[in-house]
Every structure is written in structure tokens, then in C-alpha cells.
């Protein structure tokens, strides 16, 4: 029974981490342009904000 004491919180924390990661990704615009992102990965040049 003592194993439940840490198994349940562990399950909740891990799943919660997944949920928070998803909500963060949604908020930070990771799902804005699913088509364009595929092409951006193939871009040789660094992104513009890294050139300056």
C-alpha cells in the first residue's frame, strides 16, 4: 500500500507536466502554422533574429 503513496502523485505529476507542456506550446504559438513549420526545418540559413 505504501507504494500507492508515491505512485499516484507520480502519475498525476507526470501527466500534469504533459498537460502544462501542451498548454504552454499552444500559448506560445507552436500550433499557429503547422504547414510552414515543416519547411522552416529545412531552411539552411539561420533565422533572421539570429543574424543581426
Amino acid at each position: 500500500m505504501t507504494s500507492l503513496a508515491w505512485l499516484i502523485p507520480a502519475a498525476l505529476v507526470l501527466a500534469g507536466a504533459g498537460l502544462i507542456a501542451f498548454l504552454w506550446a499552444l500559448r506560445s504559438g507552436q500550433f499557429e502554422d503547422l504547414e510552414g513549420a515543416a519547411y522552416r526545418a529545412l531552411e539552411d540559413e539561420p533565422p533572421d533574429d539570429e543574424i543581426t
Binding site: 501527466a15 502554422d33 510552414g36 519547411y39 522552416r40 531552411e43 533574429d49
Partner: protein, 731 residues
């Protein structure tokens, strides 16, 4: 098409904070375009960041309003060949925000459903056996802890919609959904407190999760269609080149033009506002406004309309009416008014809910009262009533229509038809009459060379070499015909173009001319082809040889007659409505086998005709492309447009089809009808499921485990049935 209070060119407000601008950039199709567009925008001084979205075909830019303006970015994109138009912030937010709102709730409900199910399965399998009752109680409390905030948060879309419906004295699908979820959660909490076994948190939250997924998919389809329509609408005005009093040219968004501005319209550009020609003469393609394929000649003093295409030579135009005062805007107002009439259409799912919701509530109440009457304690009676609500909970019913619509839309998409209005599929299934427009719908909307066999290869090659230098539609048609017969056309240099007359090339003493009869010194044509081509002709003279005659006509789509015949066989009435002259309309009607035709109709006449049919009880599918058809498209019961149609017509239509063939019209009707019968099958599945399970639930035989299994089985059945429609490859 809304009026903009400030002129964009002078939008230099002294705000310190950077401003954000969203532009529709429609020609962006690949990763390379994406980078080009972003780079070009970033190179504009004052622009701080630029991020393009390929899925939405939009670019969002933040800039310092002191250094840069909207116009600079648009002009920069114009220089690299992309047309961009601003989208108003109010328009672009709504759909995206709603989509994210739902997706966040899907995520939360999914997280909760997984964890509660984990706890519930342990309780179900261990209870009464090896499981310590204290642990079971702990698991139920943990479930409650996860379920309560989830239901409050993720249930909002259903509660809000159900409450709004009740306040308006109506019932919709969300009322029984909300009631079942709230009652199940409340009752489970009560049972948990009393340490009883009948706890339904898993059922409530899983149900919420599945329903939210369905809602989200439905919204995605709708947002996508709406976003594309907004892009089209913003782009149709585009940008205009204004000539300042100092002679300096600057680019201005079309909706910021004022009467009195002088515009420079280059060859191949669309006129951005209604106006009067001040300098230059040439030919204008007015097909967008009148539906006529043949270009119209204009000279100083002539009126030109917004949306028409300048074909031959750059013109200087003085604006007489801009933005919301143009003929274009007038037509779009007519269209919106017609659309309002269609808003009364009640969707299949809502009609089902009107019958379903009272039945469910009645059964729930009957269960509660019945068990009380037989002397059961009120807790038991309420538990059984809730299980009736859960088991009947319209999971399958709520999925029945959206699942079919998504499957049907993907089937049509593979076959080159885009579904723009989600309920268009329901409406197209009900039609009993098909009305075609002529130009651009039954025909391809482009002139094509006729009597080609009378022309020798040498004449063809010489004429095409001259024609290659011109943007005129006849010249283009000539080049296309020559390429089809002779392969590549070799362009020649030293060609002079006289707008409205023709092309000429001198070589030593001999000269080659291509153009009007007068230009080539030929007699006016009186032969038998003249009626058919309606004076759409070009002559070619080489040196002193006899001039050669090329005649053009708007070609009928290759399978138009076949499609009309197939529709007739299926029992649809067919009619042809056109703004064109009677002779040409009659000929097209005969060629395609249409018996009922009307010529010379204005947009308002077409609406009147459609309304007369609607009063006879007919449900009409309107197929049209021109701007003059847009109001009729909006007024008809269902509508379809070719992809070559005017932007505003595509916006008005429920469906847009691609390619030179007319057969997608049949495909759209067929798929609509299949989708409807599929939706009814799904209602049938849901009804059978309810007929079996509701009596069991009312008698109190259904445990949470059975409810969960049976409920998801019915949902899966409905989804699988719908996916049969999406099958079949690309055609």
C-alpha cells in the same frame, strides 16, 4: 469592405509602442515563398518582426509606427511579386480565439479523463475483492478532486450554449449534455461523500472529452473556410498606385482611396475604384461586373468600374467613388442581404435536438418519478434517472452529423471540390433544380480560337510570334492554340503595340500586322462564323499577302453537355440564366441541351427569378462565377462556383470546384445526398442504441462500466460509418 477612418499612407501616429499588422498574402504556397515574404518585410526600416503562416496564408508584422507604416510593408511585398492586403484585427481574432479556447479544454478534459479512468478501473476491478475499502474511498476522492475543476472549466462551452438556449426559450443539444454532466458530477460527489459505490466521474469526464473533440473538429473546418473567405475579400481591393499632385507615385490600400485621387492602372492590373479615364486608351475586361467575356474599349471620359481588369495600356483614372461606394461594394451589399435570408435554415442536428432533448428529459423525469412511486429511496431514483441521462447522452447523436460532414468534405476535397459552408452539404442534398450561369460556368470564360483548321501552319506561327508580345486575351488564346499545334512559340523582337488597334513589326520594307480588321486593311467580316464569334476576331497580314482571319469564341466546358444530360437523367430541372445577349445564350443552351434559358438578366433580375422559383417550392442549386452572380449565389438554396470565379462569388458560394470540367457539380450533389443518408443512418444507430439501453437504464440494470463501454461503442460505430464516405482515391 468596411470604411477605414484614417488614410493609411499618413498613419504616423506618435505612439511609442510597436504596432501589429496582419496581412493576407494569398500567393504564398511553399517554404521558399515564406522566407521571401518574411525577409522582404524585415528589410523595411522600422519593422521589428515578421512571421508568416503558410497554413493561414497570412503575415503578421510588428513595426514602429514612427518609422514605418502598413503601406511600406505592402509596397515591399508588391516589389517581390506578392499581393498583400490588411485584415482588420476584429475579423481575424474571433475564429482563432474560439479554436484555442476549445483546444485548451480538450487538453484539460483529456488529462482528467485519462487519470480518472486509471483510478476508476482499479476500483471496478478490485472492489469487493482484494481492495481495501479505504483505498477505494481514497481513489473516489482523488477522482472527485480531478473531476470537479475539469467539469467547471471544460464544460463551459456546453453550459454557456445550453444556458443561452434556455434563456431564449429554446432547446438545443447542449441542454441535455449540460444537464447530464452537472447531474452526474453532483450525484457522484454526493455518493463519494456518503462513501457509496455509484460514482460516475469517469463517465462524465470521458463524455466531456469526446464531445469537446467533436466540437473542436467542427470549429476547425469552419475557421478554415472563414479565414479563406476573409483573405479573398481583403485581397480583392488590393493596393492602388496613386499619382500625387507632385507627380510622385505611392502605393495605397484600395480602401483608403478618396474621390478625386488620380490612379495609375498598369497593364494587367485591376482597377481599384470606380472612376473616369483621364489619360490613355485601351481595352478593359469587365467580365467580373457584367459577365461578358469580350473586352470593352475605353477612352478619356469613359467610366470604369472597380474590379475590372486593364488589358492593353496603362491608364490614368480619376476616382469618382471608392471603397463602400463602388459598384463592387453595392453588389456585395446585395449579396449580404440575400445571405441573411438563408440564415433561417435550420441544421439537421438542431432539428434532431428539438425532438430529442424533450424526449430525453421526459424519460429521465419518468424514471425518477417511477422509482419514487415504487417506493425506492430518492437517492436510488435519482441515480437511475442520471444513468438514463448519461446513457442517452447524445454522444452518438452529437457526433452523427459533424463526423459525416468532415468525412464528406475530405472526400470532396480529394476530388477538387472545397466545401465552404458546413451546412452546404445538407442544403445541396435537398435541391431539385440546377441553375447555371453561362460565362465562366458552362463555358471556360476565356476566348478560344475556332475554325482552326482553316488556318495554315505558317500563318499560325507568324501570328503567334507577334501575339506572344501582348497581354490581350485574344493574343493569349492565339498563342495557346499555336502551342497546341506547333509546340513552343518563338517570340520575336521589335514589336510595337498600338492599344485598341493591334501589333506591328517592321523588317526592312515588309511589315507584319496583327490586330483589328481596319489595322490590317481587311474587309469587315460577313461570313457565317461572325454570329458565333460576335465580332471576336483578329486579322493577321504579312507583307502584301491576303490578310488571314482568326475568330474566337468562349469555349464550352468539355463535359458541359454530358453533365447537363446526367443531371436531367437524375430528375433535376435545369435552367440557364445569363447577363449576356440572347443569341449567344440561346446557342450555348442548345449546345449543352438546356431548354429553359433567360438572357440579358441583371443581378437583381436573377435574384427575382430565383425567388419566384423558391415560391413555387423549388430548391435551387445555383452554379455561377461572375461578380454579377454573387447575389444569386447567396440567394439560392445551395451554390457552387468554379475556382476561376470572382473572389466575391467564391465567398458567396457553398462549394468551390477546380479544373476545366463541370462534373464536380454532380459529385458535390451526390456526396451531399450520401452524406445526408449517412447522417440518417447514424441517427438510426443512435436510436437503436437508445432503444436497447434506455429501458435497461430505466430499470436500473446499467452499471458505470457497462455505460462507459456501450457509450463509446456507439460513438465508434457512428464515426466508422461516417468514415466510409471519406474512402476512395483522388480522381
Amino acid at each position: 469592405m468596411t470604411a477605414h477612418p484614417t488614410e493609411l499612407a499618413t498613419q504616423q501616429a506618435p505612439a511609442a509602442a510597436p504596432e501589429t499588422l496582419v496581412l493576407a498574402v494569398d500567393e504564398m504556397h511553399c517554404g521558399a515563398c515564406l522566407r521571401l515574404v518574411e525577409r522582404a518585410a524585415l528589410r523595411v526600416p522600422g519593422v521589428e518582426s515578421a512571421r508568416a503562416s503558410l497554413a493561414a496564408k497570412r503575415l503578421s508584422v510588428t513595426f514602429d509606427p514612427k518609422q514605418a507604416g502598413e503601406v511600406d510593408v505592402i509596397a515591399a511585398l508588391d516589389r517581390i511579386g506578392f499581393t498583400a492586403a490588411p485584415i482588420e484585427a476584429v475579423q481575424q481574432d474571433r475564429g482563432d480565439a474560439r479554436q484555442k479556447y476549445l483546444l485548451r479544454r480538450v487538453a484539460v478534459a483529456g488529462f482528467a479523463a485519462m487519470n480518472i479512468m486509471l483510478l476508476s478501473i482499479s476500483v471496478w476491478s478490485g472492489e469487493g475483492g482484494s481492495m481495501d475499502p479505504a483505498v477505494a474511498a481514497l481513489f473516489r476522492w482523488l477522482s472527485a478532486l480531478i473531476a470537479l475543476p475539469t467539469v467547471v472549466y471544460a464544460g463551459q462551452p456546453f453550459f454557456a450554449s445550453g444556458f443561452a438556449a434556455l434563456k431564449g426559450g429554446r432547446l438545443n443539444m447542449d441542454v441535455p449534455i449540460s444537464l447530464a454532466i452537472i447531474l452526474a458530477t453532483g450525484m457522484s460527489l454526493y455518493q463519494t461523500m456518503l462513501n457509496h459505490q455509484h460514482v460516475y466521474f469517469d463517465a462524465a469526464v470521458t463524455l466531456l472529452f469526446f464531445l469537446l473533440v467533436g466540437r473542436y473538429l467542427d470549429e476547425t473546418l469552419r475557421v478554415r473556410a472563414r479565414g479563406e473567405a476573409q483573405n479573398l475579400l481583403s485581397l480583392q481591393g488590393g493596393i492602388a498606385t496613386v499619382l500625387g499632385s507632385d507627380g510622385v507615385q505611392r502605393k495605397v490600400a484600395a480602401h483608403a482611396l478618396h474621390p478625386g485621387d488620380r490612379l495609375l492602372v498598369a497593364t494587367g492590373e485591376r482597377v481599384a475604384a470606380d472612376g473616369v479615364v483621364r489619360e490613355g486608351r485601351g481595352q478593359i475586361d469587365q467580365s467580373l461586373i457584367t459577365g461578358e467575356t469580350l473586352p470593352v474599349g475605353v477612352k478619356p471620359g469613359d467610366q470604369v468600374y472597380a474590379g475590372t481588369l486593364n488589358l492593353t495600356q496603362s491608364l490614368k483614372i480619376e476616382v469618382t467613388a471608392a471603397d463602400s461606394a463602388t459598384l463592387l461594394a453595392e453588389i456585395s451589399r446585395l449579396m449580404l442581404a440575400a445571405e441573411q435570408g438563408k440564415a433561417h435554415y435550420r441544421r439537421l442536428a438542431d432539428r434532431a435536438a428539438q425532438i430529442y432533448a424533450p424526449a430525453v428529459h421526459g424519460l429521465g423525469l419518468a424514471t425518477f418519478l417511477g422509482w419514487l412511486a415504487f417506493g425506492a429511496p430518492w437517492q436510488t431514483a435519482l441515480t437511475y434517472a442520471i444513468s438514463v441521462l448519461i446513457i442517452t447522452c447524445p454522444c452518438a447523436l452529437a457526433l452523427a452529423v459533424p463526423a459525416v460532414q468532415i468525412a464528406a468534405a475530405s472526400r470532396l476535397f480529394k476530388r477538387g471540390v472545397m466545401v465552404k459552408a458546413p451546412d452546404g452539404l445538407e442544403r445541396i442534398a435537398e435541391i431539385d433544380m440546377v441553375v447555371f450561369d453561362k460565362t465562366g460556368t458552362l463555358t471556360l470564360g476565356k476566348p478560344q480560337l475556332i475554325d482552326e483548321t482553316e488556318i495554315s501552319d505558317a500563318d499560325m506561327a507568324a501570328a503567334a510570334a507577334l501575339a506572344a508580345a501582348s497581354h490581350h486575351p485574344y493574343a493569349k488564346a492565339l498563342v495557346v492554340a499555336a502551342e497546341a499545334r506547333l509546340g513552343a512559340v518563338q517570340p520575336v523582337s521589335g514589336i510595337e503595340e498600338t492599344p485598341g488597334e493591334g501589333l506591328m513589326r517592321r523588317e526592312g520594307k515588309s511589315e507584319e500586322r496583327l490586330g483589328s480588321a481596319a489595322w490590317c486593311g481587311a474587309e469587315a467580316d460577313g461570313s457565317e462564323g461572325a454570329e458565333r464569334s460576335q465580332g471576336a476576331e483578329v486579322w493577321c497580314r504579312r507583307g502584301q499577302e491576303q490578310p488571314v482571319h482568326f475568330r474566337f469564341a468562349d469555349a464550352i466546358r468539355p463535359d458541359a453537355a454530358e453533365t447537363v444530360a446526367a443531371l436531367k437523367r437524375q430528375g433535376y430541372r435545369i435552367a440557364l440564366l445569363s447577363g449576356d445577349r440572347a443569341g449567344i445564350v440561346e446557342e450555348t443552351a442548345q449546345a449543352t441541351g438546356i431548354d429553359t434559358w433567360h438572357a440579358g438578366l441583371k443581378p437583381a433580375d436573377k435574384i427575382a427569378w430565383l425567388e419566384a422559383r423558391a415560391e413555387e417550392g423549388r430548391k435551387v442549386l445555383m452554379a455561377g462565377d461572375g461578380l454579377n452572380d454573387a447575389p444569386a449565389l447567396a440567394a439560392a438554396h445551395a451554390s457552387i462556383s468554379p475556382a476561376s470565379a470572382a473572389d466575391i462569388s467564391q465567398r458567396a458560394a457553398d462549394f468551390v470546384f477546380q479544373g476545366a470540367k463541370l462534373s464536380p457539380v454532380i459529385e458535390a450533389i451526390k456526396t451531399g445526398r450520401r452524406a445526408r443518408s449517412m447522417a440518417f443512418q447514424n441517427f438510426g444507430v443512435a436510436a437503436v442504441y437508445n432503444a436497447i439501453c434506455v429501458p435497461l437504464a430505466m430499470l436500473g440494470f446499467v452499471t458505470p462500466l457497462i455505460a462507459a463501454i456501450v457509450m463509446s461503442t456507439s460513438s465508434i460505430l457512428v464515426t466508422l460509418n461516417a468514415s466510409r464516405l471519406a474512402g476512395g482515391g483522388r480522381s
